[in-house]
Amino acid sequence: MTAQVSERLIYGGKEIPLFTNPLSLYLKNNGITFESPHTANWRGYVGTWEILEYEGVERLYLVSLSAHKTYEEILSLSDVFPGYEKVFAHWFTGELRCPQGAQLEYHHMGYASVYEYDLLMDFKQGVMIRKHARHNELLKKKDEKDYPSFLRRGS
């Protein structure tokens, strides 16, 4: 599986990649599917999300959507949510993962690539309850000598 194009998150005035798909429950519940335009976007859409703060509470909103109804026809947020300029993701409970810093290791699958840091934000019914950063390190790759002799090449 090819590495997938990320969602986008506007947080603190900056747009950063988002390695979580908060829209998936809404789409599954309503039986909505989109056409995949290429192998790097199997879900068929890219959403732009924003965390907006009101009276000290930060909430997750979907503010823009580019979804492929067909390969050529692209739907926007107002097509999927008629009458709304932004949508509060009240169904989302879980963790948002935003990769930060340099890419340490590329994985040709989903959101599996490893970056220097992950900004992790926990949400309960669309409301942020906790955030923290995680420092990632690559595990040391094993050398030939780290394997038992009978597993080494040419032994």
Binding site: T20, P22, L25, Y26, K28, N29, N30, L52, Y54, E55, R59, Y61, F81, Y84, E85, K86, V87, F88, H90, W91, F92, T93, G94, E95, K124, Q125
Partner: protein, 201 residues
């Protein structure tokens, strides 16, 4: 002909032997015909020859040897093949029945309590100071909630709330869930027949 078959009685051990291997001969013949029908086409053989991967005489002899060994196994071990064949058919039928089962996240161990649809709706209204949620039960999930309610037709149907903690194994495939999952389930005789998930990642 039938009288001849019915009146036949075995005399020597050779008769018993042929009687035993006759089903094996039928099975072996069937397998050989199948193998012959699935042989490489002339086009494939020419293609293999062109790319230098023609089957050598040694390989042909080896294959013939394997066939001979397999035929001997079938001739003498045909009861084992018959048992294996029926076991495989039974396993396939069981697997197809399992595949046809609906895949719900909620299983009976995660049910919390029976609730009425009215109580569920009262607890479901979403507070959003920016007004980006419709003032309906379960907000943007209202249509799905309506569909879920429309399935609760039978008098025996019960509506239960459920909660699946993060990391629990859920669903038909017993995957670990990556977040807490909450929702409502349609339950009859202790079995989950439908579910409406209100929150997850």
């Amino acid at each position: 002909m039938i009288d001849f078959v019915l009146s036949w009685r075995s005399i020597t051990w050779l008769d018993y032997f042929f009687l035993y291997i006759s089903p094996g001969i039928v099975i072996a013949t069937y397998l050989l015909i199948n193998a012959w029908r699935e042989r490489s086409s002339e086009f494939a053989r020419v293609l293999m020859k062109l790319i230098g991967k023609e089957i050598s005489l040694a390989e042909q002899l080896k294959e013939a040897g394997v066939y001979c060994l397999a035929l001997i196994c079938v001739l003498f071990g045909w009861p084992g093949f018959v048992i294996w064949f029926f076991k495989r058919k039974k396993d396939e039928a069981t697997n197809q029945a399992w595949q046809a089962l609906p895949d719900f996240e909620c299983t009976p161990e995660y049910l919390i309590t029976e609730v009425s649809p009215v109580d569920a709706e009262i607890a479901s209204y979403i507070i959003d100071p920016l007004g980006s949620v419709p003032p309906l039960p379960f907000g943007h999930l209202n249509e799905c909630w309506a569909n879920f309610l429309s399935e609760m037709m039978d008098d025996q149907d019960e509506m239960w709330s459920f909660y699946i903690p993060k990391g629990s194994k859920t669903g038909k495939y017993q995957f670990k869930c990556s977040s807490d999952i909450r929702g409502y389930a349609k339950v009859r005789d202790g079995k989950v027949l439908a579910e409406f998930i209100t929150e997850r990642d």
